[in-house]
């Protein structure tokens, strides 16, 4: 990994010949709030759709075809109260297509997307603005169609209606209606002017080729304090149980647990290993007990969200098995808390976690995303975490499990099963 500065912007290059592509990320770091979530999402959609010099989707599509199907995108996602806006460009390594101008042309177009949006004196182009607004409204409404996502969002809403976990990065209908082409242009200007920028590149390319390509990137690039992970502490309260009904075949069971562990804490790596053992892999306890031993579900598992200090268990079940499934899941966690840890399963979890960590380097997007997220935390490389995983003991796992407290059980049930 090489680090250097281009125009005062911190730049990271992972030079490798293993990929057929060259990938560039320009990342802006800012604050993620209830007030700006919708604007951020709408802005990203507009920026990647058209530009001042390529004002139609047709013009943009033709340009990308000409660049051998280059991928160009803007997206926005939160880590707790920090927002990352990622501008990305991926092109075929020019050596495969013997094209001398591809790299320069692609970079010019990339800068066009970031710095030359499709705006006029009234802000963003009105047609484009309305189209993307309508599209985002539909996306928000369509969450209802995906029952797993719907149930997941409802769980977060019940767990912490006033917390940042209840702010969906997709945005809300209410906030969407408040945004105008002018206000969004203003938001964009502020973003470029005030957020902290960093550059990331991976592929078979050298520093001395990259620098002249990007040395006119112009961000004021203010250093700022960021909050990428929650420090709020949670004290166990009485478990709340909530359910809704819809006309569906399979019930979506979601169990929201709180922890006091984020990626900066001592228990970070043990917690990650615990999650693997509990419900993070096919040989996990939940998969074994809920699916294999009791045939209650096809899909069941747990996920850990360190930035918000949450652990979520989800399962697709028959609603009449609600009690049995939740009892089994709670009982599995209790076993850990009482110190009953299968040391063979611990080894399996460590090996599997390390295997997936080592795989992140095999994909340009996951590798850059991993490095960017960790740059906000302890700056671990995947090799660093792999070493820490190896050192996790049975005692660490017990400690991690004791930091997991059930908060809310939510179930989205079918109407005919609603009484069960």
């Amino acid at each position: 990994m090489e680090k250097f500065e281009i125009n005062n912007i911190e730049t990271t290059l992972i030079k490798t010949n293993k990929f057929k592509t060259i990938t560039f990320f320009v990342v802006l770091f800012g604050d993620f709030t209830k007030e700006n979530a919708t604007q951020r999402n709408l802005l990203a959609k507009l920026l990647q759709s058209t530009t001042k010099n390529y004002p139609t989707k047709k013009a943009v599509a033709n340009k990308l075809f000409d660049l051998y199907d280059a991928n160009i995108f803007a997206n926005s996602f939160p880590m707790y109260k920090t927002n990352l806006t990622v501008f990305g460009l991926q092109i075929v390594n020019p050596s495969f297509v013997q094209d001398d101008v591809l790299l320069n042309e692609a970079i010019s177009f990339f800068k066009e997307m970031i710095f030359n949006p499709n705006v006029d004196e009234n802000g963003f182009n009105l047609n484009e603005f309305n189209e993307k607004k309508r599209n985002l409204r539909d996306n928000i409404n369509n969450i209802y169609n995906n029952k797993t996502t719907y149930a997941f969002n409802r769980l977060l809403e019940i767990m912490g209606p006033d917390e940042i976990i209840n702010v969906n990065s997709l945005g809300t209908l209410e906030d969407l209606e408040k945004i105008t082409p002018e206000s969004l242009k203003e938001f964009y200007d502020n973003l470029i002017k005030n957020e902290m920028a960093k550059i990331y590149v991976t592929g078979d390319i050298d520093q001395d080729v990259i620098i002249p390509l990007l040395n006119d990137l112009n961000f004021s690039n203010q250093r700022r304090e960021l909050e990428p992970s929650s420090k709020e502490t949670y004290t166990a309260k009485e478990v709340r149980q909530v359910s809704d009904t819809q006309n569906i075949n399979q019930a979506q069971l979601m169990m929201g647990f709180r922890t006091n562990t984020n990626a900066l804490d001592e228990l970070y790596v043990p917690m990650a290993v615990f999650n693997m053992m509990f419900g993070g892999m096919v040989s996990s306890d939940l998969f074994r007990v809920v699916r294999e031993e009791n045939s209650l579900a096809y899909s069941v598992g747990s996920s850990i969200f360190f930035d918000n200090r949450l652990l979520i268990v989800s399962a697709g079940i028959d609603a009449k098995n609600y009690e049995l499934a939740t009892d089994l899941i709670i009982k599995e966690l209790e076993e850990y808390k009482q110190g009953k840890v299968d040391s063979d399963l611990l080894q399996v979890a460590k090996d599997n976690l390390n295997s997936s960590l080592s795989e992140t380097a095999d994909d340009p997007f996951s590798n850059l995303t991993f490095i960017i997220k960790n740059s906000l935390l302890k700056n671990y490389s995947s090799e660093d975490i792999i070493e820490l995983v190896k050192q996790v003991t049975v005692e660490d796992i017990v400690k991690a499990s004791r930091d997991v407290e059930l908060d809310v059980i939510y179930c989205l049930k079918g109407e005919e099963n609603g009484s069960n």
Binding site: K18, F19, K20, T21, T56, K57, K58, A61, N62, L64, F65, D66, L67, Y68, D69, A70, N71, Q90, I91, V92, F96, V97, R134, N135, D138, N141, N142, Y144, N145, N146, K147, Q246, N247, I248, N249, Q250, M281, V282, S283, R291, S295, L296, A297, Y298, S299, G316, D318, D344, Q347, V348, D351, N352, N354, S355, S358, E359, A361, D362, D363, P364
Partner: protein, 427 residues
């Protein structure tokens, strides 16, 4: 072992067909991981065949290829192959589609042990009444999961309109009744016939030494006994391009209607490479008709005929094929009419040569980029082989397609081949 070098894409393939008929292909890559796929040509669309050692056709329950996939993981000693692979640090998975069942491992260490175990568990079935019964509960939950997914329902609904008897119109998972009718005896019969090495491929892509891996596979297979190699006799259904049903609608608990328009492609017998060429030609034509570079796409947005999820795709295999155009929309009838009109107009099109060349350039780029992905390489090798072509020759195949070659597609766009399927929100 044959070693073939493809300079255009900078890859080398090591290949051999073993004595028992198993085709082995290895592509070394300087990645951390190794991806392996052990694949049989047994998918959901085979439901009538002559078992090895028999003279008579048998008919098998729907969903059996998928059921077999689930059950293969169970080992004789009561352990689970997925867990044994996890013990080696590997990730195990499997999937069943219309024409194949694939068993997959991803590993970053212990790769030799992982590959041996993959070869062993797929070739050593163990079924009994109890474990078959237990699996039924899990698979019925899997079926229920798909039943609640509008994307799965619209796909299945459209296929049920397009085809009248081809098993492609049935859910890969089967039905609640067919799942319950599966017995251990039928599973053994299917395994014996379709999991014969000569009906299978073993593909390894990633951080491996090809000579060493080829030795490993030879040794593994050399120790096992199989019945004599013979071609599987199966009854495949071929239909004309008239659709079974012109239109259909269901209701689900969703907020925005979802509509798909389908066009059934006529049956043709393709020579080597021709199925892939045909598939590519149709992809180009669809891109020129509905892609983001077209006026049509902008018009669909301006008229608010599409909201989210607009997509167009083609499916083509040796027995059938179809085009699917779908979207979420509030203007259901207008969308259907607009798309049908565009499809019927393709009976008589003129292509802009410049646009055509641009799309070829994009296809080329997207193909090269896909080689970043080991999964793409492994399944690309398999799918192209099954379709009597060679993944690594694709650059050449794409480059050779000429604009006038698309003219042969015109005859496909006829009214009797068109159908639609809609999911409306429940009031």
């Amino acid at each position: 072992m044959e070693v073939i070098r493809y300079n255009e894409i900078d890859e080398t393939v090591y290949t051999e067909t073993l004595e028992n008929g198993l085709q082995v292909l290895i592509v070394p890559k300087n990645y951390n991981k190794t991806y392996a796929a052990f694949v049989t040509k047994f998918g959901s669309t085979i439901n009538r065949f002559i078992p090895i050692g028999s003279d008579d056709y048998i008919t098998i329950p729907l969903g059996i290829a998928h059921f077999l996939e689930h059950k293969m993981f169970e080992m004789k000693d009561g352990t689970d192959a997925g867990n044994l692979l996890a013990n080696l640090g590997a990730d195990a998975n499997a999937f069943t589609d219309y024409g194949q069942t694939a068993y997959i491992t991803t590993s970053t260490s212990n790769t030799n042990e992982v590959l041996n175990l993959l070869l062993d568990y797929v070739q050593e079935p163990f079924f009994n009444d109890e474990n078959v019964k237990k699996e039924q509960g899990i698979i019925i939950q899997e079926l229920m999961m798909y039943m609640d997914k509008p994307g799965s329902r619209i796909h299945l609904g459209l296929l049920q309109n397009l085809f009248y008897k081809n098993p492609i119109r049935e859910d890969i998972v089967g039905t609640v009744d067919s799942i319950k009718s599966i017995t251990k005896e039928i599973l053994y019969t299917c395994h014996e016939t379709f999991y014969h090495p000569s009906n299978m491929m073993f593909v390894v892509v990633g951080n491996v030494n090809p000579e060493e891996i080829m030795d490993l596979v030879r040794n593994n297979q050399g120790k096992k006994q199989f019945p004599e190699q013979q071609d599987v006799v199966k009854e495949m259904i071929v239909e004309d391009n008239r659709v079974f049903k012109k239109t259909d609608t269901i209701k689900m608990d969703i907020v925005m209607p979802k509509v798909a328009v389908g066009l059934k492609l006529p049956f043709k017998e393709y020579g080597p490479d021709n199925l892939i060429i045909e598939d590519t030609k149709i992809k180009i034509l669809l891109e020129l008709t509905f892609g983001s570079s077209t006026q049509t796409y902008q018009e669909l947005l301006d008229l608010e005929l599409i909201n989210t999820g607009f997509s167009y795709s083609v499916y083509l295999d040796d027995y059938c094929g179809y085009i699917k155009v779908q979207a979420n929309t509030f203007k259901v009838e207008e969308f259907k009419e607009y798309i049908k009109d565009k499809l019927l107009n393709l009976a008589n099109f003129e292509i802009d040569i410049e646009a055509f060349e641009k799309i070829k350039k994009a296809l080329l780029g997207s193909f090269i980029k896909a080689f970043n992905n080991l999964e793409f390489i492994a399944h690309g090798i398999i799918d192209y082989k099954f379709k009597n072509s060679n993944l690594f020759k694709t650059i050449e195949l794409i480059s050779n397609i000429k604009v006038e070659d698309l003219n042969t597609l015109k005859e496909y766009f006829v009214n009797k081949a068109i159908t639609d399927f809609t999911i409306l929100p429940k009031a």
